[in-house]
């Protein structure tokens, strides 16, 4: 049937007779200002409270310094040593103790342990940061969509999360990595992330579901904001706290997982200097020279400790229940 009615409004929607008189012109500036107050005010005051709480705690400063040092070492290991971890090795010095310029001694291959420990930070931090970034993106996307658009979306996404949750992380990583020929920091991070995102998905689903019932969400909706916009601008920023806390702790777990894979010989290849690989190599020489095991293990433990402590401090600071003491 041909439609021969005249379009009165571009875009296809015809106002009913008389209705156009009631439509006030939209005052974009005013609405924007209302939004801005809501968006900026709430999270920043919560974060300001948290910051106020955190900076008084020594544990925060200790972990901050550890993380800072580890990150700087990982980014610029050359600042702290002139010795190359792989090419300046002398087999004649295999397993020898410390000497001037080489404070930690030599490993089985005669490589400088001090240099290898410094350069090993890079692989751990790189894999940890990449895997965590991926996990936050995947997990938040899955969880917040499931929580925000409940109904069928929620059912399907939650079951997918359950499926990935049912496969233990290290187990899945071992199965995949053992058959992967192309083993780089990126692939290790990708494998860890593809089975490690479920916890964040569950956490963000729960928070989003509780946040979306707040008045400011209803207000935004009544002001005509789209669902996607509300999710991105209002719901997500207010759900960020538990995700950030979990991500900090997860970074530590991913570093341990990478080291475990490298230790098993299916993580990073030997051409990449990594703590896990060095610990694995130290296994053979533990009777003659236990100190070889100590330095990479200490680097690993210190890094993980830094991130775990930071996660603790941030959680305490963001949790109003824990703050009332």
């Amino acid at each position: 049937m041909p439609d021969n009615r005249i379009e009165t409004v571009p875009g296809g929607r015809r106002p009913r007779p008389g209705q156009e008189h009631f439509a006030a012109e939209l005052d974009e500036g005013g609405l924007g200002a209302v939004d801005a107050v809501k968006v900026d005010d709430k999270p920043s005051s919560m974060w300001r409270d948290a910051w106020h709480d955190m900076r008084r705690r020594p544990m925060f400063w200790v972990s901050a310094v550890i993380i800072l040092v580890v990150v700087i070492v990982a980014a610029f290991p050359g600042w702290f040593t002139d010795v190359h971890p792989r090419f300046d090795c002398e087999l004649a010095k295999s397993l020898q103790g410390p000497e001037p310029g080489h404070p930690f001694g030599y490993d089985r291959q005669g490589c400088d342990i001090y240099s290898r420990t410094l350069y090993g930070a890079r692989a751990s931090v790189l894999v940890g940061v990449m895997a965590t970034a991926m996990v936050v993106v995947i997990g938040t996307a899955m969880g917040s969509i499931a929580g925000y658009f409940s109904g069928w979306f929620d059912v399907i996404l939650s079951r997918i999360t359950d499926i990935f949750f049912a496969i233990p992380l290290v187990l899945a990583a071992i199965v995949i990595m053992s058959m992967s020929e192309n083993r780089t920091s990126f692939t290790v991070a990708l494998v860890l992330a593809s089975f490690g995102w479920t916890s964040i998905a569950r956490i963000s689903r729960g928070t989003v579901m509780s946040v979306k019932n707040n008045e400011f969400v209803t207000a935004a909706r009544s002001l005509g904001m789209g669902r996607g916009g509300i999710l991105l601008k209002h719901v997500l920023p207010n759900s960020a706290a538990p995700i950030i806390v979990y991500a900090t702790v997860a970074l530590g777990t991913f570093i341990v997982a990478e080291a475990t894979l490298s230790f098993l010989g299916i993580g990073l290849p030997p051409s990449v200097v990594s703590w896990g690989g060095d610990i694995s190599a130290a296994q053979q020489s533990i009777r003659q020279a236990p100190q070889i095991l100590f330095y990479p293990a200490a680097g690993l433990a210190l890094t993980v400790l830094g991130f775990m402590m930071m996660g603790d401090v941030v959680r305490d600071a963001l949790d109003p229940k824990a703050r009332k003491r």
Partner: protein, 308 residues
């Protein structure tokens, strides 16, 4: 409750199917032909290769292979591996050892974790609490394989207090050190969880009521606080059983225990896909079952939780 049970059981089905399909796809869709390399340098003739492919259903399309595998899982007939060993026998040999190891670890982490957590939580902010909290962070930060090594070297090789490796048919004593190593990380989490939970419950109204009606301190702590604080801990412990069994790969490797982990690792290295898939399926079943039991326990433990 019955209705909840039924619904929860129904939820398990898609999760089980999805997880096994995912694992099956990961293992079998990998590049390379598992049959072609079997004959070593001389190689196998086309006819023999064809026969082996038929035997393992490798000539079928992927989804048919998976369905045949599922049929095998339900009839407990996983077939034979490339060396002619019945896979169900391999599982029957490996599973009890790993299960014993995991249960020992679970008991260790539950007893010590709840004990230390309770003591720390009662005096939150005190020196004991601070020490326990820091030690738990340290235990989490030192990876299992490093701890396994160091303890094996110091307690086993140097001091001779524990057997260095477990080997075949391990005794309770030879599994003790591996169980401690396996339990360590989870122990730290249990301590922290119990501590937080106890500290939170201590300030609850019902504790004040219990004190007000004149109950002794030990009764308030034991009967009211501890029991209520254990709910999240039990959840963690149940889910952890699956993790312990799957995560035993490293511990079993260090202490040379012939459990699921060691068998699985060898199978992965040798490319025995069917063994890998069968063992991981068993682990996934344990994991799903443990989580199911926890969910049901949860409902039984906490009268506030009503499943309509």
């Amino acid at each position: 409750m019955l209705w909840y049970l039924g619904r929860r059981l129904l939820q398990v089905i898609p999760v089980f199917l999805g997880a096994t399909l995912l694992l099956y796809a990961l293992v079998f869709l990998r590049p390379g032909d598992p049959v072609a390399g079997l004959g070593g340098e001389r190689g196998l003739s086309e006819a023999v290769q064809e026969q082996i492919r038929q035997q393992y259903n490798l000539d079928e399309p992927f989804i048919v292979q998976y369905l045949l595998f599922l049929k095998g899982v339900f009839t407990l007939d996983f077939g034979v591996d490339f060396r002619g060993q019945e896979i169900i026998d391999v599982i029957a040999q490996a599973l009890p050892v790993t299960f014993q190891l995991a249960m020992m670890a679970l008991v260790i982490e539950a007893v010590f974790g709840i004990g230390f957590g309770l003591l720390a939580g009662i005096r939150k902010g005190g020196w004991f609490d601070g020490t326990v909290l820091f030690m738990s962070l340290l235990v989490i930060a030192v990876p299992t394989f490093v701890m396994g090594f160091v303890l094996q070297f110091v307690l086993g090789v140097k001091l001779g207090w524990f057997p260095v490796t477990a080997g075949r048919d391990p005794s309770f004593y030879s599994l003790l050190l591996p169980a401690i190593v396996l339990a360590a990380t989870s122990f730290a989490y249990v301590v922290r969880l119990t501590r937080t939970s106890v500290a939170e419950n201590l300030s609850a109204d019902y504790v004040r009521t219990a004190r007000a009606k004149g109950l002794r301190r030990s009764q308030v702590t034991g009967r009211h606080v501890l029991r209520n604080s254990l709910i999240p801990v039990v959840t963690f412990l149940g889910a952890d059983l699956g993790n312990l069994m799957g995560g035993a790969i490293v511990t079993e490797g260090i202490f040379n225990i012939n459990g699921v982990g060691g068998t699985l690792y060898n199978a992965i290295v040798r490319g025995e896909n069917i063994t890998v898939v069968s063992l991981t399926t068993v682990l996934v079943i344990v994991y799903i079952a443990a989580n199911l039991v926890v969910d049901l326990l949860y409902a039984a433990l906490d009268p506030r939780i009503r499943y309509a």
